[in-house]
Every structure is written in structure tokens, then in C-alpha cells.
């Protein structure tokens, strides 16, 4: 990982006693998306993601609002360090923070265990990330998916084009 060294304060708002999470919880995340999609349709699922980003992750938004792009980079470094199997390069550039997701830990684990992945799984990164970023004056744009992608967090006024959802790949086993 490149860029600024993380501060000694943990940038994760919710912390655990173990250093990394239990990967089988990715099964439940995938199953939850499938359940909400079945019950509420794609717009309902996108609303669930947006609500998660805006409410559950509100403490992260507050950190980003106060600390700007350096806080964004610190958060994602800490986040991926706690996700088992993640291979992600976080770079802080003058006007953006990029996440080069070389190995998505969730897709990797779901595939390894033969789980059927909700096709729109990768869209959750956009809808949650955008809901977290917007109140902090930031935006996220994503390209790729299905195991690897590039996520760019930038100032909202610099995000001239809306996210093209077609540029986020469908996920599959």
C-alpha cells in the first residue's frame, strides 16, 4: 500500500478484539442482498445500501468530512487490513484516493465455497460508498468488479460524470 502512513488512532468506527473478520460472514452479506432483492426489487436493495451508507456508516462520513481525502485513505487502509484475503492498494493522490482492488475478499471467499453470488453484488460498493461520501462533499466512481475493481474517491465538484452502472461488472461464481 502506498501514500500517507496511517495515524495511530484507529480510523474504523467499530472495532473488534480480533484483528480480522470471520470470512464466512460474507455468506450472510451475499444472502442478505439476495433476500432484499427478492422482497423489494433492485430499487429496494439500492435503498438498503444507501440507508446503510448514510446511517450505519455515519461516523465514517463524519471522519471524512473533518479529515478530507487523507481520512478517506486512512479508513480504507484500516478497513482492508481487517478483511481476510483482501489485496488492495490504497493511494492518496492530490485530488483523489484510489483503491486498486486486486483481490476482493468477499468475491474470493464466495467463489472458493461455491456460493451463488448475487449478480449485482458489486454495485453495493457504489451505493454504500456514495451515501458515505456525499455528505462529506465527496463522491466515488467505480470501474470493474467481479473480483477486482478500481474505486476512486474524489471531491464531489470534480466528479463531473455520474456513475455509469454498466461499468460495474456483474458478479458470478
Amino acid at each position: 500500500m502506498r501514500g500517507k502512513m496511517p495515524s495511530p488512532v484507529n480510523p474504523l468506527p467499530y472495532t473488534d478484539t480480533k484483528p480480522v473478520g470471520a470470512a464466512d460472514f460474507y455468506f450472510a452479506i451475499n444472502a442478505t442482498f439476495r433476500f432484499v432483492l427478492k422482497k423489494a426489487g433492485i430499487e429496494g436493495l439500492r435503498q438498503y445500501w444507501t440507508d446503510l451508507g448514510a446511517r450505519y456508516f455515519a461516523p465514517v462520513t463524519a471522519q471524512w468530512k473533518a479529515g478530507g481525502l487523507p481520512a478517506v485513505a486512512e479508513y480504507w487502509r484500516a478497513f482492508f487490513a481487517a478483511e481476510p484475503g483482501a489485496k488492495v492498494e490504497v493511494s492518496q493522490l492530490p485530488d483523489a484516493v484510489t483503491l486498486e482492488v486486486k483481490v476482493c475478499p468477499a468475491i474470493k471467499h464466495l467463489r472458493a465455497h461455491g456460493r451463488e453470488i448475487v449478480p449485482c453484488f458489486c454495485q453495493h460498493c457504489y451505493f454504500i460508498g456514495e451515501a458515505m461520501a456525499a455528505p462529506a462533499g465527496l463522491a466515488v466512481r467505480i470501474e470493474g468488479g467481479n473480483g477486482s475493481c478500481r474505486q476512486t474517491f474524489l471531491r464531489r465538484d470534480a466528479a463531473t460524470a455520474a456513475q455509469d452502472l454498466a461499468s460495474i461488472k456483474e458478479a458470478s461464481c
Binding site: 467499530y14 472495532t15 464466512d24 451475499n30 442478505t32 439476495r34 433476500f35 446503510l52 478497513f79 468477499a106
Partner: protein
């Protein structure tokens, strides 16, 4: 991205999101359909095919992965777990997360229906402080749970100093298979 490190946090948040949209029936359906039948289908496969040996295999793996402080005791007819430090309730308590009125119900929400399909019933108590115990028996076995220490000795969570909750109530399930099968009793 939604991660597994703080899974218990957004899982508990999701319970309340479900209730706001479809009430308790939608939440119970979520636990049964998404968690029991989809996410944890490997538990169904193990327990359905191997019974108590499957329980040992399943909970031995998952509770270690989740960092639980627990003890399991099994005979040929009963599988008992004493949970001294529930990893997920502990996560919520340490982080001050409390969206849903009783997070602990989620275990019975998915495990209860799973065991019912396999022909088992559950005796269980939880104190909402990260401690609980479970005894799983075949539905055809009328045996009631023993007194504290009878099955798991010093590992019995009911013998620990923190067992009685400070708010004075305990949630109790007797030969149950669903989250609404519980009664709440005063313990002071």
C-alpha cells in the same frame, strides 16, 4: 464495501431496517430464509446428516473463527454450549450499537427452524450481556435440562459471577424452535 470485520454491527442494524419495512414477520422470514437456508446452509447439511457429530463440527469451527469464549459438552443424546463471551453481542456492547430491541433473538431465529427440520428442540437462556447456554435434544427425547453444573461442570455459564443480568430479567426458551417461543422471567 460492506466488510466481515464489523459484520455484527451492520447485521444488527439490518434487523431494525427489516422491522421498519415489514415488522417482526419480515425479520423472522429473513433469519429463516437468508441466514438458515442460504448463508448457513452448510450448518443444515452437517447437522441434518450427522446430528451431534455435525454440531461439534459446525460450532467448533464457527465459534473459533468468530473468537468466542465458549465451551461445548456432548453426550450421545444432548449437545450443550455454554457461551461465556459471545463474540457478536460483545462486539455490539463494546461499540455501543443497539438498533434492535433484542439482538440475541437472531440465534433462535435461524438455529431454531434449522433444528426443527432436523428433528431437534432447544432449551436456552440468554442474559443480554453476552452469556447464554443451549441444550439441544431430539424432539422425541423428553429429558429436561439439568441443574447448573450438572452437565458441563465448572464450565456451566450459570455458575459464573456475571450470569445474573443487572436489569433482572432473563429470556428463556423451553423445547423451542422459534424466536417467539420465549418467555422472560425475573431473576432477582
Amino acid at each position: 464495501m460492506l466488510g466481515c470485520y464489523d459484520f455484527c454491527g451492520h447485521y444488527e442494524w439490518t434487523f431494525e431496517w427489516m422491522i421498519q419495512r415489514g415488522g417482526e414477520p419480515l425479520l423472522r422470514e429473513y433469519w429463516d430464509e437468508a441466514i438458515h437456508r442460504d448463508s448457513q446452509r452448510h450448518a443444515m447439511e452437517l447437522i441434518g446428516s450427522k446430528g451431534i457429530e455435525g454440531m461439534k463440527e459446525y460450532w467448533g469451527h464457527t465459534l473459533v473463527d468468530e473468537g468466542a469464549g465458549y465451551h461445548c459438552t456432548a453426550t450421545d443424546t444432548v449437545f450443550r454450549t455454554d457461551m461465556h463471551e459471545c463474540p457478536s453481542k460483545g462486539f455490539l456492547i463494546r461499540n455501543g450499537l443497539h438498533q434492535h430491541h433484542d439482538y440475541c433473538d437472531h440465534c433462535m431465529g435461524w438455529i431454531g427452524p434449522l433444528l426443527k427440520e432436523c428433528g431437534w428442540v432447544v432449551d436456552h437462556e440468554h442474559n443480554h450481556c453476552g452469556q447464554c447456554w443451549w441444550e439441544l435434544r431430539r424432539a422425541t427425547d423428553p429429558t429436561r435440562p439439568g441443574k447448573p453444573g450438572e452437565m458441563s461442570g465448572e464450565h456451566d455459564v450459570r455458575k459464573s459471577a456475571g450470569w445474573l443480568p443487572p436489569h433482572g430479567t432473563m429470556d428463556v426458551y423451553e423445547r423451542a424452535n422459534a424466536p417467539h417461543d420465549k418467555t422472560t422471567r425475573k431473576v432477582d
